[in-house]
Amino acid sequence: MWTNQNFFRRQLPLGMNRREMLQKMCTGFGMVGLAGLLRPESLFASAAPDPHIPQRAKRAIFLFLNGGPSHVDTFDPKPALRKYEGQQPDGALFKKSTGSGFMSSPFEFKKCGQSGIELSELLPNIGRVIDDCCVIRSMKTDVPNHEPALIQMHTGNVQPIRPSMGSWLLYGLGTENQNLPGYVVLRPSTKIVVGPALWSSGFLPAQFQATSVVTSDMTVEKLVANIRNPKIGFDEQREQLDLLNTLNEHHLAARNGDAQLEAEIQTMETAFQMQREALNVFDISKEPESTRKMYGQSTFARSCLLARRLVESGVRFVTVYYTSSDNQPWDTHADNDNRHRKLCADADLAAAALISDLKSRGLLDDTLVIVSGEFGRTPYAENRKEDKQKATPAGRDHHHTAFSTLLAGGGVKGGMVYGASDELGMHAVENPVHVHDLHATILYLMGLNHEKLTYRYAGRDFRLTDVHGNVAHALIA
């Protein structure tokens, strides 16, 4: 009757007890090593940075534009749409086109930066930092509907239950600052399509789940649950903990230094330190007015600024969601142009501010910034009956066979366009980048081999990219 845990202990190098193993194999209890001890089978699943892959990015920020921004109005100029204006798209479509046919973008595209990459007039600020960015115009995903596309972008599979990319990264790399959560999700409200499954640790151990923070109210105490004792201060708590440590140490000594008991003691200390550190890091009022103005005044802008503070202090992965009172504002089935104008005014300023802020602090080289939605929008119009009745301008429907993603920093080649869609923006034709390929590339930039970062669950070795994914080496500097 050998339990898994007992079996694992017999495999330890002779003479090494668990205490030594803890010291040698992990530098803190936030690291992968502990996960391995608690779930022995995972430790030997190569859950560590791959020594053959140069780690270019130590941290990542994902700016997620919920709803699917229109690529032909932002990152992907398609002048040919004017030539075919009003014509119906042919070929196999996921959903029959019931609108007025191809709809060109009313926005002017200009060459930006030294690299001359063409961006729409809606993105002037990103245009100014475009030489630090790579625009992928050949993205594609499997299902043009929000839930599966969201889940696939976050977890690599169209159905829920898999661990999110952030959880995989934490599992593979651990976190740099144990006094802060390693994976933080910032969102303006609790309203979001799909919800916590997007940042769940799935079948990975619970410490790899995200700490989700609702940023509508930036009062620090409200941002992180239980971050502070409402009744007593730190000094009093310190006294409490000193007594607790005394009791726990005696308890531990009588039990021959059980590593798990020791972990509990260490973690209590970490929790105490985390209070002070989190209260400090999560407080954007500590930023000068000029910086806050640079990002903008919206919730998204403030969240981007908070994301910078978090990664600066050692948080491994931060996702900032662009939702508002609308849980997916970029989903412009109607009034596409006006709504994109407003949305871009906000997102463009904040995203560009984040990139240039990271650069000026010397962080951009090892911080990967990803800006994307779950899919793009159709190059042809959508005119829903209710919109036609109200004379609302046309919208664009979901589009999964071509869309754009922006990458910056973290080892990505700047001033580059990767891949291309066809002349109408319908399909990714040159160097297509499936979501799996994007994931493989992100993991590679962070020093992880997407094929080797696995976890055994339900009898097989799962990974973020499942059985797919190719690293897009050409976009790596």
């Binding site: 339990t3 144990q178 649950a225 007594l243 009791l247 970490t270 209070q275």
Partner: protein
């Protein structure tokens, strides 16, 4: 102990950590607040929820934060065995959550009438750990409790809280 400290030969029951259900129920039980009522589930974090943790509502869309933090598996996943993780967020729950603070307040309230400081500590040890405190434990407790009272929490409340947060309460030998 010397021969086989890691219990490879199974000479005793393996040390077990209480699950979230066991821990929360134990806390409520020792505060004399655990309700036996069955019936429809309710929100775990409801301040009026004194029922057993197993009656807490489990949502597939958004698992209750407390359950999630304490290794309750994602309700969408097949979980043949719960992970046993130790995270700072769990400890923050023990240090700062309204649930724990309300419980220590109730616990202190019950023991207040049981006699002097020493008698209260002996009672607390009996209820939480099933044993009498060692002389040094009693002395350490008295030293802590005799320090000047403070705002916010009474000395005994602070003391009770660390007993609830201690490894001895969390683990069964």
């Amino acid at each position: 102990m010397r021969i086989d400290p890691e219990n490879l030969m199974l000479w005793h029951m393996n040390r077990k950590r209480l699950s979230v259900e066991e821990w929360r129920d134990s806390v409520l039980f020792t505060c004399n607040q655990l309700s036996d009522r069955g019936g429809k589930s309710l929100e775990l974090d409801d301040p009026k929820n004194f029922r057993r943790t197993v009656y807490g509502r489990v949502s597939r869309l958004k698992l209750n934060d407390t359950l999630m933090q304490f290794d309750y598996p994602d309700a969408n996943v097949h979980a043949e065995k719960r992970a046993v993780t130790t995270t700072p967020i769990q400890k923050l729950f023990m240090l700062n959550s309204p649930f724990v603070l309300a419980r220590v307040s109730a616990f202190s309230g019950h023991l207040k009438d049981c006699g002097g400081c020493e008698e209260q500590v002996v009672r607390a040890y009996g209820m939480l750990f099933g044993r009498k405190p060692e002389p040094w434990e009693l002395q350490t407790a008295k030293d802590f409790l005799n320090k000047p009272a403070r705002e916010g929490m009474s000395r005994f409340e602070e003391y009770a809280q660390i007993l609830f947060a201690s490894n001895e309460f969390l683990y069964v030998d």
